[in-house]
Amino acid sequence: MNSPDSFLPPRIDPWPARLDLLQSATGLVLGLFMWLHMLFVSSILLGNDAMWTVARFFEGYFFFGYPLPWLVSAFVAMIFALFVTHAWLALRKFPTHWRQHMAYMRHMRAMRHEDTFLWFVQVLTGFAMFFLAPVHLYLMLTHPELIGPYESADRVWSGRMWPLYLVLLFLVELHGGIGLYRLAVKWGDFKDAVASRRKLKRLKWGLTVFFLVLGLATLAAYMKLGMEHAPNAGERYQPAVSFLPPLSKGGGGGFLARASVPPSQIPPNPPLAKGGMA
């Protein structure tokens, strides 16, 4: 086996195990990230400044004292990579032949079994996300700095992204919720598996409903804001002065250091046309 031209298979091929672990791990990270993402995005419901603060936070603004949008880009790139990996691994499970598809459909109709049905929901939502998620990911990758109350609202409304986000919301929440539940029953070591599964199922549906409601409310907030801001689309948001730390370079701007922000130190607006994909 040491000889380089040996075609003997290894005694154990570890890759099926690794790929399975990788599929679960990427799913876990993506699923948890989507829930957190929703919580961050929904900060708009607490007000524009709250959302602005969250957005700048991820640009390292409160750490470095000035925003580094490429941090967001890097993070998005990582999520993109996880997404691609997860999609590639999950693709192995899809029904690839018509015969397989028909067998599953017949089975699902006959069994009327929730978890069997939910898997099909995952296939559909996963498939749809192949196409829809990259649109959003690409925008975030290339324009990380355009995350903010007005910026995002303009994207949603004036950029006509809301139909995509509306669909994506349902896809993500269903797929992620089901996927995280499935991870729990797939790997979990429960004392009473039947009772635990019942609880997990309740939790899963509860969280899905919660995030859908939260998501719809958030999207509605952005749409409303976007509608109101439509005449000034492309204008960057300026936070209310008194609550925010200085944007001075190396100014030791801790989150708690509240000071006024001279407009000159705010990054310049990109030259975007009104109504463009901001």
Binding site: P16, D20, P95, V185, K186, A193
Partner: protein, 239 residues
Amino acid sequence: MPRTLTFHVFRHNPRDPGSEPGVREYQVEEASGMTLFIALTRIREEHDPGLSFDFVCRAGVCGSCAMLINGRPGLACRTLTSELPGTISLFPLPGFELIADLSVNTGKWMRAMSERLQAWVHLSCEVNLNEIEAAMDPDLAEAVYELDRCIECGCCVAACGTALMRPDFVGAVGMNKLARFRLDPRDDRSDAEYYQLIGDDSGIFGCMSLLGCQDVCPKELSLQTQIAYLRRAMARQGL
């Protein structure tokens, strides 16, 4: 006033070139305590002497009579008609070779699975039968028996979307067996050896946790737990 039950029963003899798969309807008057075994026997005796189905123990222990009862796999012999609606559809178990009508060849499938998974205790040596047997922890013995209660009825395979899409998938029955032997101190195989048997997508990593198996198993085996346990053990082999 007893109900008149309407049965929609799948009929087809794949070896008869003149036979087309179809459904025949029968009416049977319900009796108290009537099981599907009693009802089908009556159909055969009174309406259709050529109807094929498999009952052996008729007591829910041999696993012969699994079929799709209103779409779900179950043991026909211990299904009371009183628990079903007035219209009952009976189809052969999918995932297995059809013999005729409601009769499928689960035995052939199970033997092939056992051979493939080497589903038997691998002994390190023969024991001296005159000597007192090796001691075994009483709780462990009970735990092994708990997994040994599988009756190979095929319900878990027929309830598994993965198995129906991919005929080479070992199904919950196979994974439960390996979990049983892995637990058994008399089987001296290592995890690496088990991994060679099921460490791929037709084995443990093919399972998509649809849990149809867990929900239809007539013996209420802890299939979800066993599959998860095996998955964790096999995943460790990949690290």
